[in-house]
Amino acid sequence: MQQVLRLPVSSTEAIDAPEVIGHAETFRPHRKSSVTPAKSETRGLPLVIRDLRKAFGDNEVLRGIDLEIPAGQFVAIVGQSGCGKSTLLRLIAGLDKPTSGTISFGDTAARAEDVRVMFQEPRLLPWARVLANVEVGLGRDRKAAGAHERARQALEEVGLAEKRDQWPAVLSGGQKQRVALARALVSGPRLLAFDEPLGALDALTRIAMQRLLERVWADQTFTAILVTHDVAEAVALADRVLVIEDGRMAEDITVDLPRPRQRGSAELAALEGSILGQLLGPGTTG
């Protein structure tokens, strides 16, 4: 936590330095993704989306999305509210059916347990103890031998092993979201979709959760898709930031910065500024 508190002071004053901005500009507009996965060995699922459309009645929310995500990549999707980013995530997670277009997970047939979602709300069962809530994430393996053990390990992974016998009602917001993360992780997913999972947390808990997300992603090498409206969060965590506008892909930006990334560093700030500029339209940021 102390480390977290120290962060914002580091080198933010350098944002205006021209060479930094120049550097940020160089990695901005990669339209075609030539992405390098962060790791050579990954269990992640690749994702291919072709001409994906989704309409609710007359309202066309997604107007033809084409997207390829290589296995193990951490992708952030940003955009204004109502741009269709959450809809895209719900389609990827199988929560809704597309109006037209296809979503495929590489060439392997993905099991239901391979794709997991983490919602903005923890969505824990209030009437189940923490450990039982994590076991929900095992899906069909819930009744298999070793289910308890796997759930216990997932809880340990998020640092809540000692809360296993508590009711969710006594946990703090951040702890609940960590239990939800353990539930999403326990089945060993190969693709994890995050629907603004940190949106409701306070700033410090949020940064701690971002580090936790980054750590488990590095440990477990799944493909991560994070929908967020916090651009700083997107550039801090993702290999690649997708900007969605009016149901279409507006930008596809590769964030080619080494990890762990220094929050508040000049590169991140410059990148964040340029994405914000894109989101808010010309002339609104300087």
């Binding site: 199988g94 979602v117 009437w127 189940a128 069909r140 969710p168 009602a169």
Partner: protein, 268 residues
């Protein structure tokens, strides 16, 4: 300073001891005042006999076995009627909460029947069943049906849809979804229905026994009225109060056992 420090200690010492007795303080006080008023001659025994007289009447009836038999008969009618009516209400609540088709098919009919005061059916019920057991069971079951039905339905309809979506995403089958998400989520509301139903159960039974019966607490009270035994009448009324309290305590105990996850129930 020393006073402030001593305050929490004082509370700690007194509260747990008084906790169990506190709810009984008021009924006990009423009985004491009542006894004192009777002894002092403020209340005529023809209007209200003294608690000691009521206790003596109760003792006598207990010895003759009449009281036990009547309580047992009433208890039996109440439980069987409750099980039948509550069971059917619960089943309809589940069916209509879970299935759109079932709801469309039956809900309107049930809402129409609900608006008929079930005690108004007593004359009809007597014509149908005479004054034997089935008449009382029918009335109790009918009275109990609606609170259980309505609250089960409401409970199931108001289960957090986000939790249901979560359950589906995590691959729960319909059965699991019901057992692990929908039913536990509906349970607090089902208990509300249960407690309403218990109240209606006694009310219906006593009215039915008063009008058309040859045994039971209501019958005992009516007989006593015929013979001007006002102490027995008062005794019956006190027994109703006690039985109601017992039923309520039982449902509270169930609540505490099954809803311990709920912040509102965990502290009791």
């Amino acid at each position: 300073m020393s006073l402030i420090e001593s305050l929490p200690k004082v509370r700690k010492l007194t509260v747990p001891r008084a906790d169990g007795l506190l709810p009984w303080l008021v009924p006990l006080g009423i009985i004491l005042i009542w006894q004192a008023a009777s002894v002092a001659g403020l209340v005529s025994p023809r209007v209200l006999p003294a608690p000691s007289d009521v206790a003596r009447a109760g003792w006598k009836l207990l010895w003759s076995g009449e009281l036990g038999r009547n309580i047992w008969v009433s208890f039996w009618r109440a439980s069987i009627g409750f099980l039948i009516g509550g069971g059917i209400g619960f089943a309809f609540g589940l069916a209509n909460g879970l299935s759109q088709l079932s709801s469309k098919l039956t809900d309107t009919t049930l809402q129409m029947i609900r608006n008929v005061p079930h005690l108004a059916l007593i004359p009809l019920v007597i014509l149908w069943f005479g004054i034997d057991e089935s008449a009382k069971l029918f009335l109790v079951a009918l009275g109990v049906f609606f609170p259980v039905y309505l609250n089960t339905l409401h409970g199931i309809r108001t289960v957090d849809p986000q939790l249901i979506e979560m359950g589906r995403v995590y691959g729960m089958t319909d059965g699991e979804l019901f057992r692990r998400v929908i039913f536990p989520g509906a349970l607090p509301s089902i208990f509300v229905g249960l407690r309403f139903a218990l109240g209606i159960m006694w009310l219906t039974l006593i009215v039915a026994e008063t009008i058309a019966a040859s045994s039971g607490l209501g019958y005992m009270a009516m007989q006593a009225r015929e013979f001007m035994q006002i102490d027995v009448v008062v005794l019956s009324i006190l027994i109703y109060a006690l039985l109601g309290k017992v039923a309520d305590s039982a449902s509270r105990l169930l609540e505490r056992l099954t809803l311990s996850w709920h912040p509102a129930f965990s502290k009791h």
